[in-house]
């Protein structure tokens, strides 16, 4: 009998500002400080994850955008330089990571068996997207766990939020089934912000926190609404509210990452651990965790 299971699920936002402010040796730019409430939230998440025994990280990132199906990194090793196309002044990150190709193929096959369009990415020159890199770095800076990187199939643009969510949830169920069959213990990550309206101007000193705030109160109210529901364990309500949330808050959940995560976690009804909330260039971000084994009867 398989012992594979999801040991934790996380919302891990990926603004590159957070890696920039941490000053890891992999990143070329240097910062003085910045976005501490979110970085400290990540510290607390890491502490809880470090207490777990797990084999791999499975992550879905909005910044690997595929318009034909869902794609998976399909080579065992990637090493290159990632330069953020939007914030190149903040993120020029030298990465060196390993992929659990076996698990990636299992998830890819499970999703295909359920009727989803899937593809493995086997080009060795492919550059891993910065959303995956930022969220994985902040979740596990030692990079000592192999990852499975899943693209965001942009169904919302072609159809609507309901179709996006239906397919993302199907992918979540396939992800869970494949993990259980693999015998591995896995952390699953939705790499995303909540509200996602950016300022279009940047402070001269990007980490000048006197200039950082939510884009507008409307976005803030939506973020608090979502976080309140997560804290109460009402993830079914979050899924029901998703079309309004995506439209009203320009939410990055349009990528399907949050719907996929909640589906993979079997739509948890227990409270999420909200480690912290903060804004980054106007967007709303929360670091959130679910720990199914702690909730098991």
């Amino acid at each position: 009998m398989s012992t594979g299971r999801i040991v934790a699920g996380c919302i891990a936002p990926h603004p590159p500002h957070l890696v920039y402010a941490e000053n890891p040796p992999q990143n070329e730019p240097r910062a003085e400080c910045g976005w501490e409430t979110l970085r400290w939230a990540y510290e607390r998440l890491r502490k809880d994850l470090d207490a777990l025994d797990y084999d791999a990280i499975v992550i879905l990132s909005p910044h690997w955008q595929t318009y034909i199906g869902t794609h998976f990194l399909g080579l065992p090793h990637f090493k290159s330089l990632s330069v953020d196309p939007v914030f190149p002044n903040l993120f020029r990150y030298h990465y060196d990571l390993n992929v659990d190709v076996e698990l990636a193929e299992q998830i890819c096959d499970a999703a295909a068996a359920d009727g989803l369009v899937t593809k493995m990415m086997r080009n060795p020159d492919f550059r891993v997207d910065y959303g995956t890199l930022v969220s994985c770095h902040l979740t596990r800076p030692s990079w000592d766990k192999p990852i499975v990187s899943i693209s965001s199939c942009r169904n919302l643009h072609y159809y609507n939020t309901d179709v996006m969510q239906a397919q993302a949830m199907a992918l979540g169920r396939a992800t869970r089934r494949a993990i259980e069959a693999s015998g591995k213990r896995v952390v699953v990550i939705a790499s995303q912000s909540l509200s996602h309206r950016h300022f279009t101007r940047e402070a001269d000193v990007p980490e000048d926190m006197s200039r950082e705030h939510i884009y507008d109160h409307h976005q803030y109210l939506w973020d608090m609404k979502l976080i309140g529901m997560l804290k109460k364990g009402d993830t079914a309500g979050v899924l029901s509210l998703m079309p309004e949330f995506v439209e009203q808050a320009v939410a990055e959940a349009d990528s399907g990452a949050l719907s996929w995560l909640l589906s993979a976690l079997e739509i948890p009804s227990y409270p999420a651990e909200v480690y912290g909330y903060g804004t980054i260039i106007g967007t709303g971000n929360a670091v959130v965790g679910w720990f199914p084994e702690q909730e098991a009867p």
């Binding site: 690997w64 955008q65 595929t66 318009y67 034909i68 199906g69 794609h71 290159s80 330089l81 990632s82 330069v83 196309p85 939007v86 914030f87 190149p88 020029r92 369009v117 593809k119 990415m121 086997r122 080009n123 020159d125 492919f126 550059r127 997207d129 693209s151 942009r154 169904n155 643009h157 072609y158 950016h198 300022f199 279009t200 101007r201 940047e202 402070a203 200039r211 507008d216 260039i281 106007g282």
Partner: protein, 307 residues
Amino acid sequence: MSVIGGFIVSGLPHPLLCPDANPGYAALRRGYEAAREEISRLNPDVLLVYSTMWPSVIGHQLQADPAPKWTHVDELFHDLGSIPYTFRIDADLAHGWCAAGQERGLQLRTVSYHGFPIDTGSIVALKLLNPDNAVPAVICSSNVYADRSETIVLAKSAVDALEAQGKRAVAVCVMSLSNRLFTTFIDPSEDRIHSKKDEEWNAKLLQFFSEGRLEDVTQLSRQIQRQIRVRKVVSFKSLWWLSALMGAHNHYAGTVYGYAPVVGTGASVIGLIPASRSFGDREFDEDTVERFDGDRHILGGLEDPNL
């Protein structure tokens, strides 16, 4: 005259990486080659590339690395192969355009970083239109939040910079006509425009372009966005940029060098050369704009001039 020609080209990689996979891709490849010859005949000092496939958030960004070099892989069509490139960028013009844009109120900045991810569309356009880097280029992003006024001012600031530096440019607009891809993998032999509606709109746009009616098409941008554009961004603005850059009129000799479906989208290679002939001067619904003052203050009193 600072802008001596304008070209509209698709940015999908198939004509570059697999032109023989389908007669349409091959026809597009020949279209790029014909456009390349026309650009060579025009002998510009610089190519100005506006790519709908390079999204930006902090205003617009201009590529200013004098010699960017990388091996690119498309995030969707990675199985078609890698694209090694080295380009020649006119950094002086990029900086001049940036300063001119800031003078007109735009948030505009240059980027010059090793490994900066130049987008597939810009790479395809430059590899096929300017394979030997005979002409230096400047590449401009497409801001996801920008609308008409910001885009028009962006174009006018480019003209400011060209005039200040005494340079003659050919503009290259990287865009599809209809941009709906199939959502399943198709055999190239089965490629076609995604729907009859897209096909009919594309035919109408090609007719306008071949008649040199650039500003007429541009005035339809909002309608085009509603009808045949998958709304990844707030508006269909590339033609606003091209027409404002070239003078916002219909006095062109238009040539359709190629048109074919690429994975369902309407891919084309179109040239617009200023000409004495005209489809007529008209009064247009939307006025031109000279300066961008932002949009947040429209709610009244909420504008933070610094953010």
